[in-house]
Symmetry: C2
Subunit: 470 residues, 2 copies
């Protein structure tokens, strides 16, 4: 049963992602029937971007591209899906025949995962025949929105505790079964050390962490016996949860037990605190452990933690070596969604602009150029048209990643993405590293400057749309 | 391709739910190895409950039981999962052999889905050998928490607009791919009319709704042409989105187009508004439609709606016939998670109690009895031990649903659950129907009364745990 290499290929695992063609809003299909009947199959350009920056997100971290590309490469309607569509009575047989042969054959440009970005900046552009580019809207947003939401939240936790061990504990209160997989991946690429969600390890090669729950202690008649049994079952990874009844008493029991375990060749690696005033408990537990000769035993804390509480604990000097961050990470609880969109920017060679009140978009195919200052810090971005003259010293952030429905190169592995994200966080200027919800006054930086060619195009389209008819 | 019956059995559809045994926190597996080594396989009792009521949730609506039972019935470790566990080096071969044979063979008691409940009240109890009851913790919470979260949010929207058509629009910003399926189900059982998420229709037999997006209008050179093409493609379901450029002009274009469509035998069913001041637009659009002879055309509204905005629109007399509720529903944005738990209450015949600060639980196997007043309104609940004497006129809410790992009866269908939920909402007293975040002073009702036998058991366990040792 043991694999000789000690490694595991996720290829033998079921793909857990629910990339079914019918995982889409019904209106995509009703629109597709319209496009089909009118023969509207010319090239369309859609871009995904975030409209607004919530006060508690000074920047976003792009994530989810890999799963979007998987989805696009595999997209097709299965027999049962086509049968259901037929039975629904909404669609014509010739259209369903067309759907049966539909595959994604378009191009994708995107920012690398782990890249810092700001409102109005596209992080993904799809160029494809209109029906293909339209159909994929719902699931593309579903994937990119959530992974970006979690990577952006996780990055704040990393900024709050850059030198501590951070572990995603959020599976149980994540929304459904796919969210914790995406959250494990997005938080890891943002700088977390790993996750407690087991299946994320074989799927993404993410380090997985696990200790014990209160029920393990409660199911034993004595806490010390629970500790000993757990240590014997996991001799290489003894992390003991000490707050089930009384945290300091739990710590003293660990000290009392340690010599007996040592005689069995077992060393306690850490204790975990999960309730009460964590800074105060950590100080007392540290003292008990140190006096008991267990200065090498680490202290790990969990329990409704977020970036603010972690920063406060560290500012109070709490001797805590690592943190489990659960629900508030996997739900991005303070900002549970981003105002994002996947919008048509061009069809049949003509730029398009939505003008709905409060929801107007920048038209055309765009590129984002990033500028850095002399110290290498992010200085600001220029949002312009792809075919406009590039600024002299800007770095273009959108690159071709898929052509004709196939990836242009093997995807970067998650470690590479994680290193890229770490570099991005290092290049953040001080104003973007702050955790405080941002006052309007701070919003001058970074300017995402809208280049003149883009402004001119938007103005021209507005004049054309404001026709005098009706 | 057309099914003669016009119906569709979800049995031929892939099960989309990610019920893999490794979708669990790693600590479940490390604890299981401890239980295995110590031979701790006696009966354990775990209960799932919500700890606290957030101010903006005066009650909860139970949901997710059906998917929990599916998960428990199918639970097993696959070959690749066992191979990965072996390769991880954390587990012994004899334990992995034991895991390979592990199935869930326990009993489940639960409240019916769609039942109103309150903090501290278990909505699910698992009674099984300790390892089985422990392993399933993470996924049981993951399923019950999210569906209950969404059903409870959706119920508030239903209370705000009991006589309007309500449709779940939330797929794109739901968290991952499983959440929108669960959200479609949970909002439907709470009283929504249906969802826009296509695959929820064949999976759950939920009505599915779909119209058009701005991109359909934008991809045409003229808005009127877009309307006409859409109507021809969906002649039985013509709902036109009229806010892409200017809402009232869009309405006038519908009026102008209607006679031409009528000559083709096509009638416009509704228009959709998606931006701006919806009440004001709806009034103007209603007038334009009525003056144009289209008084039968309905007005449907969407765009960042929640129960407060919908109530305000209706209080302002907005002539809106239906609402699409998206992101705030599928993320339960104001309360993106509930403080819930699945806790060990008894092991090997002995009641157990967790005493961690701020997280103490009521021990033992419990039952909830509900009381109604003379008008049939919910009057209050009694939380007591299962084997305590029942109150004279209480209705027990927890019923046996699974025995020895098998369902005791076929599951109620979703329509039946939905009718039950509607009855529950009708029996809510006025104080629980309010949408306003609840002040502390309101919290007296409904009393979830803790029965004396339960208080006595908790006190006795506290005395036993507070032993003088260490």
């Amino acid at each position: 049963m043991t694999s000789p290499s000690g490694t595991f290929s996720s290829g033998t695992f079921d793909n857990p992602f629910y990339n079914r063609a019918l995982l889409t809003d019904l209106y995509q299909l009703t629109m597709l029937q319209g496009y089909y009947q009118q023969g509207m199959e010319e090239q369309a350009v859609f871009e995904f971007f975030v409209r607004k920056r919530p006060p508690a997100r000074r920047f976003f971290l792009a994530a989810g591209l890999e799963q979007v590309l998987d989805y696009l490469e595999g997209l097709h309607f299965t027999g049962p899906e086509l049968e259901w569509l037929a039975a629904s009575g909404r669609f014509r047989d010739d259209f369903l025949h067309y759907l049966a042969g539909l595959r994604f054959q378009g191009d994708v440009h995107a920012m690398a995962e782990g890249t810092v970005f700001f409102p109005d900046e596209p992080i993904l552009r799809v160029t494809a025949p209109l029906p293909q580019a339209q159909l994929v809207e719902s699931r593309i947003i579903n994937i990119l929105h959530y992974q970006t939401l979690i990577a952006s939240k996780a990055a704040r936790v990393v900024l709050a505790a850059p030198d501590r061990l951070l572990v995603d504990f959020g599976m149980r209160r994540a929304h459904g079964g796919e969210a914790p997989l995406f959250a494990a991946r997005a938080s890891y690429l943002a700088g977390f050390a790993g996750t407690a969600t087991t299946v994320a390890a074989p799927l993404f090669q993410i380090p997985v962490f696990g200790t014990m729950a209160h029920s393990f202690v409660q199911s034993h008649d004595e806490e010390t016996l629970a500790f000993e049994h757990f240590a014997q079952a996991q001799p290489g990874n003894v992390v003991l949860l000490i707050d089930t009844y009384d945290t300091e008493r739990g710590a003293r029991r660990v000290v009392q037990l340690a010599p007996r375990l040592a005689r069995q060749g077992i060393h306690v690696k850490a204790v975990r605190l999960d309730s009460g005033d964590l800074a105060e408990h950590a100080r007392r537990v540290r003292a008990i452990l140190d006096e008991g000769g267990l200065s090498e035993v680490r202290i790990f804390a969990s329990g409704n933690l977020d970036e603010y509480r972690i920063r406060e604990l560290l500012e109070r000097g709490a001797p805590i070596d690592g943190f489990g961050v659960g629900t508030v990470l996997d739900t991005s609880a303070d900002v549970p969604y981003l105002d994002c969109a996947y919008k048509l920017q061009e069809y049949a060679g003509k730029p398009r602009r939505k003008r709905s009140e409060g929801k107007a978009t920048w038209p055309g195919r765009k590129q984002v150029y990033r500028h850095y200052d002399r110290r290498g810090q992010l200085a600001g971005d220029l949002l312009t048209l792809e075919d406009a003259a590039p600024p002299p010293d800007g770095t273009p952030l959108l690159q071709a990643v898929m052509k004709g429905g196939r990836r242009l190169q093997a995807s970067p592995d998650l470690e590479e993405i994680r290193r890229h994200a770490a570099g991005e966080l290092q290049r953040l200027p001080e104003v973007l590293r702050q955790l405080e919800p941002e006052a309007e006054i701070d919003r001058r930086f970074p300017a995402v400057e809208i280049a003149p060619p883009l402004r001119e195009l938007a103005a021209r389209l507005d004049r054309e749309i404001l026709d005098p008819g009706l």
